[in-house]
Symmetry: D2
Subunit: 308 residues, 4 copies
């Protein structure tokens, strides 16, 4: 097996500089201003070592990657009760589809499409004010990455709030089916802000360690969540983490992962490593174009796959 | 970790005797006559040892499990060209849905729903007569399990042929989109017969070894398929192997698997084991009800999961 | 042909007293309190005579019948430009379906399903404050029925506003596709209030005359809308006026009509009569159960049908 | 009102010669060979007079217009029992959609989309051989038009049989739901041949008279079907006769009509006239492009509309 730092340097060289980079998310005006030429990657091994290359210390909007963190929080809070309000199946439809929600009578297919993530946030919000809830989410992320400098970009949150008609539609639709317990404004307020958390690849790779180490930040550390929950989150990332490109990612990369429209992707090699990559341009599924390629390269080079 | 034989014996005892067994598949009259009280399980470890319990030597109709074998054959034959005619995404719809095929203009979502499997059979059939093609499929299965006694149940095949209106509809729909190259009767003739192959858990566990061992029957044996193909088939089984219950199986069992309406399920622990279980009664997704429970028990007891 | 008053009296007797009356709309709490035993009917002939029976002078919530009046206003205002934002086809889906709106990229199928009616209201609102707009709608209805006592029930409007999550979802979805020009709150404010207009069968029969008389309140009166517009509204009522029960109504009654979940229905016999009926209980399509039966009886008795 | 012959001559002149004629149906190879420059029109008034212009005596493939004739036959045979197997609602989907059939569990939305028409043919076939059944259909058409020269084009029927994969899929799908009682080959054999009947505008205008005259060929003639059935067929043509362009046709033309992919359209002015037009090029809905324009012109010029 090659030295991991060499692999990362090579990926930055050969993948990070490609011309065809995909299109930066444009439906959130504030995200559309990001420089598409950036590219970063970082790997946190279970032995505690960390490797990185490129723009690995540049913070970016984690967007849907936040769904992994709120799911972990919600599982800790409501336990299996959560699964009465959200399914565990791949959707076979776009990440913001309302059509399926209609035929499924308000039950989102999984916690990683927008409708499901909004319900998860609604669960995390229970018994809190939106401000308290966001504080809790941030503290959780600080703890996972051991870095208290991580914060929310208010301009991005405001930009999403002002342009999130599709999410407002989704939340009201959930409410019409009784699957949203708080006022739409409150739950979406938290949701838009959690998506606007900014982290670097460095910080995300650290934050993903608990999924690689059976619920612990490192193999001998204290539990963040029970091991069974970490496995379950990994299974959901594998089957549903890349929207309608989830099967493709599993097929080509072979690792559980979760993408965000900010261009970030985290992936997990159970027992071995937590990975984060970032390149703002997206492919047709809404996942980072070069980030997906980089993940495939890295997994092949290191012979990392959960499938053999 | 407990002794595997003890675990299997315990599963036969505690799961195999349950009262709520689900309903035996009834849309194929010949399958509806199977005694629902049967239950078998078998495990083939990568070290060559084999464990079994219950009705593990009773042959049953493998039905959709055959899709794994024809996919392996087709990948060997047409390579990546296959993926121009079949997708790699979970469908989010029923195994025999035509609706999705309509919106996707004749491109099946994956090779494990009926439409996709029919296209895979169409690929395996290329350049052969149906009889030759079936001979090749049987020889492949014989080779995988090291057992030449495995055969096709003609009554079941005939029963499917006479009642397979939904599959005939699907095949004609594929043909209308140019995604079926042979006469509908020819491809479906092979398809109905491959589904009517009868195998025991013992034989299926042996036949699944090549997926657990990176494409080889045992870690030091000759290649059946390239390692990359074995991984890819495993990823497809994980994301799509249990129809609309695939996410659920991944969540609860944590292993790539493929079910058939005959009540059989195979599952793979990469690098470790190949598993087969059988109980004829089905759950609401069309997967073996007790077989699914048994898989979950076995995986938990042995701490087998690809997710950590 | 029998005397029309006899027919109406007979309908009140034989239909109006039936036990199986359907279920009163319950999704708007304020509507759920209506006494289901009420039944009224009224007919305004083109010769100026008016006939009525039962609770024909009791005001009720016209709900979706208001869509006919706002469509007439919008056609007068934006002319054919309206049809760039709303289709003219039956939907084949429920009145509040968002699924179709998703596949149709934000273009409602017709102006009588909720999404289409919201766009029509958005058009009527252009250049006005919501208060002015509602004033204009009310004045239009006053003029059509020659009765200035018609008013909006604020409790119903408030009840809809507080429980109209599905409509809020729809409006936001339209906005996400750029097919809603005002703030969601403004357009929906008008929409919820227009639905809360209260009219009796007597008043509605009078208000429908302009559709029976080629755009005029009576054959020799001044034009309300051009004759072509009256015909077009009639064609839309025929094909789309009863949601997913439109074909059924056309088949059984043979007249253009529009229903509301308040239990009212208006129908038009071109050149002959304007009809209104009311019974609060609904059938499975959301149309007045006994009202539909009464319309069929009346049409048969008077030999009124546009189909021969 | 202008003289009708002048109107027809003007339409042939101004519409029949247009450059943009749409595309001739190409999915049936034999139909694709038709000369697209042809254009004919004919009107049969209830007083017995007949007017025609252009290629009004050239026979063409009536295709889906045949669905009107088999529906009339089936209503005569099975009466209202037919409506247990076919709905009466506009579909909101394409004429050959299987998706809707799936969600509706094998019940076609109406008798004028392909699935519904196949069920109607299945009803007409009951108790007959396919040959006898086709004989009966032909005799019915001969009787309606008073012309025994009308026949089936065997080449077209064969061409449809060889390329009708979508219809074979539909019929098998219906069979899987128990909504097709004969062998697929038998019912489709009749269906493909009824579609291949060739008639001229002259003959079609005559054949449509029974729908304009309350079930009689002329106001004082003997009944072909009861008046109620004629009205009902007219209502179905209005709401469903032009597939996904039905609402548009009702809106613009204002008459019940039925189109075929051969480029023919018949329309009915209840109590007044039966109309037939033909131009082979189709619009995006699969209806004759110039034929639709011609119908609109004619209806406007003669002030014919069922909507006022």
């Amino acid at each position: 097996m090659p030295a991991i730092q060499d692999v990362l340097d090579d990926i930055v060289q050969s993948v990070g500089g490609r011309k065809e980079r995909g299109r930066v998310a444009h439906y959130i005006p504030e995200l559309a201003t990001v420089d598409p030429s950036q590219f970063g990657i970082a790997v946190a091994l279970s032995d505690g070592s960390l490797f990185e290359a490129g723009d690995s210390r540049v913070p970016f909007s984690i967007q849907s990657i936040s769904k992994v963190f709120t799911l972990a929080l919600a599982l800790g809070r409501s336990g299996t009760g959560l699964w009465k309000r959200v399914g565990r199946e791949p959707s076979g439809a776009a990440f913001d589809s309302i059509a399926q929600l209609e035929s499924d009578k308000g039950l989102p297919r999984n916690p990683f499409i927008n409708s499901g993530a909004i319900v998860v946030t609604d669960i995390v919000l229970a018994g809190h004010s939106p401000r308290e809830c966001l504080g809790e989410i941030l503290r959780f992320v600080h703890h996972l990455s051991g870095d208290e400098s991580i914060h929310i970009n208010d301009r991005v949150a405001r930009s999403e709030t002002e342009n999130g008609f599709r999410n407002v539609a989704t939340a009201n639709y959930l409410r019409s089916h009784g699957n949203l317990l708080h006022e739409v404004e409150l739950t979406l307020g938290v949701y838009f802000h959690q998506c606007a958390i900014e982290m670097s690849c460095h910080q995300l790779a650290l934050a993903g360690r608990f999924l690689a180490n059976g619920g612990r930040l490192n193999p001998s550390g204290p539990r963040i969540i029970v091991g069974q929950s970490a496995r379950q989150i990994n299974s959901l990332m594998l089957a549903c983490g890349h929207y309608n490109g989830s099967g493709e990612f599993a097929f080509n990369v072979g690792l559980p992962g979760k993408s965000g429209v900010g261009g970030g992707i985290i992936a997990v090699v159970p027992g071995v490593a937590s990975i984060a990559v970032w390149s703002p341009g997206l492919n047709s599924y809404g996942n980072s174009r070069l980030g997906t390629v980089a993940m495939e390269r890295l997994a092949k080079a290191m012979d990392w796959s959960i499938f053999g």
